[in-house]
């Protein structure tokens, strides 16, 4: 291998090569390449600690959180609110369902599955000393055995669908043929999660 062929092979500075043993000129050139590589490594060492400013990381983190939807979560309502809503709806269903099952006359014991419960609306309003009277004026019927609302007690209003047979528990007549149908109702739930009163839509007697 002559010098031209040697350099055309793009030898690495650190790599030993037989040609170097027989060519002082190429050995000298290769030595300079090694020294150059050493100088570059020294510069690299000096610059090794140079990094992007911390603000770059902060901006990227914000972008990552925005993309992941993490930033938006703090602006929405607390997680416990929907949980409380569902808990109140469930409590209302259980309370009314218990009344239906416990006091249903035998002849009305045809299947009346609560096929679906639809939470359509929830309101929170503080009661006043005459809250039950006011509620009665708005068409609410107190549930049998339900405790009175305490003054200034917060109540939740839950709209659900119930079997029409549930209307019988508050003194509304229901024909046996339609007992398994569903009817929409607003249930007033106390701060303890217990249903206190109910207001049915389509309250006309069958």
């Amino acid at each position: 291998m002559n010098c031209q062929e040697f350099w055309n092979s793009l030898p690495e500075p650190a790599a030993p090569h037989p040609h170097l043993a027989e060519c002082p000129d190429c050995t000298s050139r290769m030595r300079r390449q090694r020294e150059l590589a050493g100088g570059l490594r020294t510069i690299a060492g000096y610059m090794d600690g140079i990094q992007a400013p911390a603000r770059v990381e902060a901006r990227l983190l914000a972008a990552f959180r925005e993309q992941s939807g993490i930033a938006g979560r703090g602006k929405t309502r607390p997680r416990w609110v929907p949980a409380l809503t569902w808990a109140a709806a469930l409590a209302a269903m259980i309370a009314i369902g218990a009344l239906v099952v416990r006091e249903r006359p035998p002849e009305a014991a045809r299947p009346s599955s609560a096929r679906s419960v639809e939470l359509a609306m929830i309101e929170t309003m503080p009661t006043t000393p005459g809250a039950m009277e006011t509620a009665a004026e708005e068409g609410f019927l107190p549930l049998p055995g339900a405790a009175q609302l305490a003054p200034e007690e917060d109540v939740n209003m839950v709209r659900i669908e119930l079997p029409r047979s549930a209307m019988m528990q508050v003194g509304i007549e229901v024909s046996p043929e339609r007992a398994s149908e569903t009817v929409r109702a607003d249930v007033m739930v106390g701060s303890d999660g217990v249903a206190r009163a109910v207001r049915f839509f389509e309250v006309t007697s069958d």
């Binding site: 793009l10 690495e12 500075p13 650190a14 790599a15 000129d25 000298s28 050139r29 300079r32 390449q33 090694r34 020294e35 150059l36 590589a37 050493g38 100088g39 570059l40 490594r41 020294t42 510069i43 690299a44 000096y46 610059m47 090794d48 600690g49 140079i50 990094q51 992007a52 400013p53 770059v56 990381e57 901006r59 990227l60 983190l61 972008a63 990552f64 959180r65 993309q67 992941s68 993490i70």
Partner: protein, 224 residues
């Protein structure tokens, strides 16, 4: 192989130089990327802290601008956040891909600002400068002034040679990753690097012998 294929690790900033792994217990870049795709913030920070230093320094060497280096580093990782960033593990490592993105962003910035300082050579690959044998421009590379001269010489290289020197010699990226970053075959990386080193030696020689750079001297015999 020197420089490019050495596997030195930087302890100061949690970077790995070559393979995407910093140790037997640490996740690879690709594993981190998978976690990033599922919204793992910790994985994103790990990848950023592992790779940002080299990318920032690469952009800094290429642009000589802190602002550009900062923007480029940020934009590289914003690209990673996109689902359709175009990274394909089959084609190369994430490290090479990141350098490639950085390079494109740098070139775009340089085209806008024309902020490059390049030693024009006309791009003729056949006109490799001969390395000096008779004097030694590297004698002072162990001194601060010599290193500063070398740093200036790197910055004065044309872009195509500067980027390969910065990647392979300064950031110790291996040839395969450099080829991905530069969008060329490995053989081209090697030839450019070889020529870049020759240009650096020539530049250093000119700095030490400025008159020679202006008017090449012919051998003369002292007649006195």
């Amino acid at each position: 192989m020197a420089g490019c294929l050495s596997m030195e690790l930087s302890d100061s900033n949690n970077e790995s130089s070559v393979t995407g792994m910093t140790g037997p217990t640490q996740e690879t870049d690709d594993e981190l990327l998978l976690r990033i795709r599922s919204g793992d913030e910790e994985a994103f920070l790990s990848l950023y802290r592992r790779r940002q230093g080299a990318l920032y320094r690469f952009a800094l060497h290429m642009s000589s601008s802190i602002a550009v280096a900062e923007d480029v580093t940020q934009d590289v990782f914003l690209t990673v956040l996109r689902e359709d960033c175009g990274y394909d593990p089959e084609r190369g490592t994430l490290s090479g891909y990141l350098f490639g993105i950085a390079r494109k962003l740098i070139l775009r910035q340089m085209e806008r600002g024309r902020s490059t300082v390049a030693l024009e050579t006309g791009g003729d690959e056949a006109t490799l400068p001969e390395l000096a044998v008779e004097d030694d421009p590297l004698l002072d590379l162990t001194h601060r002034e010599g290193l500063e001269a070398l740093r200036r010489a790197v910055q004065a290289l044309p872009q195509r040679y500067r980027e390969v020197v910065v990647l392979c010699d300064l950031e110790e990226v291996d040839y395969a990753d450099a080829a991905i970053a530069l969008g060329c075959p490995i053989g081209t990386v090697r030839s450019r690097l070889h020529r870049a080193r020759a240009l650096l030696l020539d530049k250093l020689k000119q700095d030490r012998n400025p008159r020679r750079a202006v008017t090449p001297l012919n051998p003369v015999r002292c007649m006195s």
